[in-house]
């Protein structure tokens, strides 16, 4: 029942990246109009890597994650272009049944609000065990045993006894641990964490991030971490994709992006916090408002808020310029932005 994950011994040049998203387009067609929530997003992640996805709320982070998981609300949502490949297989082209098997086995997700994401009427152990029963055909007792092991593994105290408790009987942090246990149950290649700590207390946030980092190390999975927390990104991510108005506007190594951003929006984000290693800071402090997805500005979507703006920005949308190896920016004047940070 295992998926064709790449063989560890295979030579690196023979294998495609674990997850490749290319030029993804997602629309929502509602009565109020068509919202282009995702507008040509591309990224790749491999085993053991962490990709951070940053951006203001409404920039299309969750929709991208949902498209990768295959859990978009369709309708009103629709994938109108691009491809998503997992282990070289096109997820968008496969049958519903094949796609279902990739969920949980190949790619998993955890959400911001674990309380509403868990079914209120079933014990948490049962909800974890369901993974083994459905995907592996495990017996009830075998599945329950594995569920308790997983709860132990995500450091839930007294796991055996607590497996029979219901979601509302746990604290927020413990609930998120249960979500994590469920998501890693089948040892997936990719774990998507969509703002996993936003709803939690600061101290608990740190513990959950620690757990995710620890599990990633042990299991060697790829982690896509959607977060507002710039401190966390600096700590755990290898690469960062900064999203604005449904596009990735900067794609870079975390170290490069933080030291010398190549896009005015990334620069704005970094300047909105006094210190990079500060935990729990938010991304809201850039002047102006996010663009309306129903009525995107012509040219560069960021131009109404951009200090680097020129004539070209208003008329011509910037392509994804290659800034360096594995580095790209959607800004006509990325060189200027880079140069402003040359002395750092």
């Amino acid at each position: 029942m295992a998926l064709n994950l790449p063989d560890e011994n295979e030579r690196p040049e023979d294998r495609s990246p674990l997850l490749e998203v290319e030029d993804l387009h997602v629309e929502f067609r509602t009565r109020a109009g068509t919202a282009e929530a995702v507008n040509g997003v591309s990224f790749t992640v491999d085993r053991g890597e962490t990709l951070a996805v940053m951006g203001e709320s409404g920039s299309g982070k969750s929709v991208t994650a949902q498209a990768v998981m295959g859990i978009l609300d369709m309708p009103p949502g629709a994938i109108t272009g691009g491809s998503i490949r997992f282990c070289g297989r096109d997820l968008l082209g496969m049958s519903a049944e094949e796609r279902r098997r990739v969920r949980g086995e190949g790619v998993s997700i955890i959400f911001q609000d674990a309380l509403s994401a868990l079914n209120p009427l079933f014990p948490v152990g049962w909800q974890i065990a369901e993974m083994f029963r459905v995907h592996r055909g495990a017996s009830r007792s075998e599945a329950n045993k594995r569920a308790v092991e997983l709860m132990d593994r995500v450091h839930i105290p007294d796991a055996r006894r607590r497996a029979g408790d219901y979601p509302h009987q746990f604290s927020g942090g413990m609930r998120q641990r249960i979500m994590i246990a469920m998501a890693i149950a089948l040892d997936p290649g990719v774990l998507i964490a969509d703002e996993p700590t936003t709803a939690l207390d600061v101290t608990v946030q740190a513990q959950i991030m620690e757990l995710l980092a620890e599990l990633q190390e042990e299991l060697g999975m790829a982690l896509i971490l959607i977060t507002h927390d710039l401190g966390v990104v600096a700590d755990v991510a290898d690469r960062v994709a900064v999203m604005y108005g449904g596009r990735v506007v900067e794609y870079a190594d975390v170290f490069d992006a933080y030291r010398r951003p190549a896009h005015p929006y990334t620069k704005g984000l970094l300047e909105s916090i006094p210190r990079l290693d500060q935990v729990g800071s938010d991304l809201q402090a850039i002047g102006g408002t996010p663009p309306s997805l129903m009525d995107m500005p012509l040219g560069c979507a960021f131009h109404p808020r951009c200090h680097y703006r020129r004539e070209t920005c208003v008329t011509t949308p910037p392509p994804m310029y290659t800034v360096g190896p594995e580095r790209a920016s959607a800004c006509h004047f990325y060189q200027e932005v880079l140069d402003d940070h040359g002395d750092r």
């Binding site: 969920r103 868990l118 079914n119 009427l121 369901e130 979500m179």
Partner: protein, 308 residues
């Protein structure tokens, strides 16, 4: 949970006392003399009327009558009617019929209402959904006695599929159509409730999680969505059990069924409170009991509910 149930049952005592007193008083306040017209063409002899009044304590003040009556009632002594028939015999004959009718109605509501509502909720704005919408609209806007008359005339007189009236045995088969008629309103309400509940739950976060877990759609809906949608539906059904007993009164009259409804109706006409008060008390008790069962069942269905 046991203590909660006990407390709820004790709370029922003042309710029962209050309602019985009210009913007793209303019967007492009805104009007319229950014994005056009982002797055919002639007026009844004055000493017969006086003797009857004395036997049933009708010459006493209301509260004295009521206390004596209730004292007997709590000892399960229901007394006799003004015709000297034991009230307990009458109730024992009529209760099973009405219960049968209510159970049939409940089954129709549960099966037809929930199935139709769930399918409509899963395929919203589809052909079946529209069908459910229109038929529930009709069911909700036409009064029960019209539907009852229509069923009696259409199925009974015209097509001859059923007997227009129900025999004294009131078998399950005979009660099927009358039961379905009583069920119409609640079936329609239940179908609509099921539709909205299913549609709402389909959008819930935990359903998204269930899909993300890679569960087959049948399991996402059959286990996760359905289990969460069941709570309001069971609540409605349970609460309806009480109203079904009372609602049977109208339908029993039309189909000539000898249930509790007919029993009460006939005795109200005769100004005979001996049957009316215990049957009304029974209705109240069943209502309270159904409510309690729903409340306790709610705790079984939803672990978030606590009883203190």
């Amino acid at each position: 949970m046991g203590r909660y149930a006990l407390r709820r049952l004790l709370q029922a005592v003042p309710v029962v006392v209050g309602t019985t007193l009210l009913i007793y008083w209303m019967m007492w306040a009805l104009p007319g003399d229950p014994f005056a017209g009982r002797c055919g063409e002639r007026a009844c002899p004055q000493d017969y009327i006086e003797a009857m009044n004395a036997q049933f304590m009708l010459d006493q003040p209301l509260l004295v009558q009521y206390s004596a009556y209730m004292a007997n009632l709590v000892q399960f002594d229901f007394g006799v009617t003004y015709n000297m028939v034991p009230v307990s015999t009458l109730i024992a004959q009529a209760l099973p019929v009405t219960l049968r009718l209510a159970l049939i109605a409940l089954a129709v509501e549960a099966v037809v209402g929930i199935v139709a509502g769930v399918i409509a909720g899963l395929r919203r704005n589809g052909y079946f959904d529209t069908l459910v919408f229109v038929s529930t609209l009709v069911a909700l806007s036409v009064p029960i006695f019209v539907i009852a008359r229509f069923a009696q005339w259409g199925l009974g007189v015209n097509l001859g599929w059923i007997s227009p009236t129900v025999s004294n045995e009131a078998t399950w088969a005979e009660l099927l159509v009358p039961g379905a008629v009583i069920a119409t309103t609640t079936t329609a309400v239940l179908a609509r409730l099921a539709r909205t509940t299913i549609a709402e739950n389909l959008r819930a976060d935990y359903v998204r999680t269930a899909i993300a877990k890679g569960l087959p759609r049948s399991r996402v809906i059959g286990v996760h969505v359905l289990r969460n949608s069941l709570i309001p539906l069971i609540t409605l059904l349970g609460l309806d059990l009480g109203s079904l007993m009372v609602g049977a009164v109208v339908t029993e009259g039309i189909f000539n069924i000898n249930g509790l409804g007919g029993l009460v109706y006939n005795h109200i006409l005769r100004l005979d409170s001996t049957v009316v008060v215990p049957v009304a008390t029974l209705f109240v008790l069943i209502y309270i009991f159904a409510n309690l069962v729903v409340d306790l069942f709610y705790g079984v269905l939803d672990p978030r509910i606590r009883y203190e």
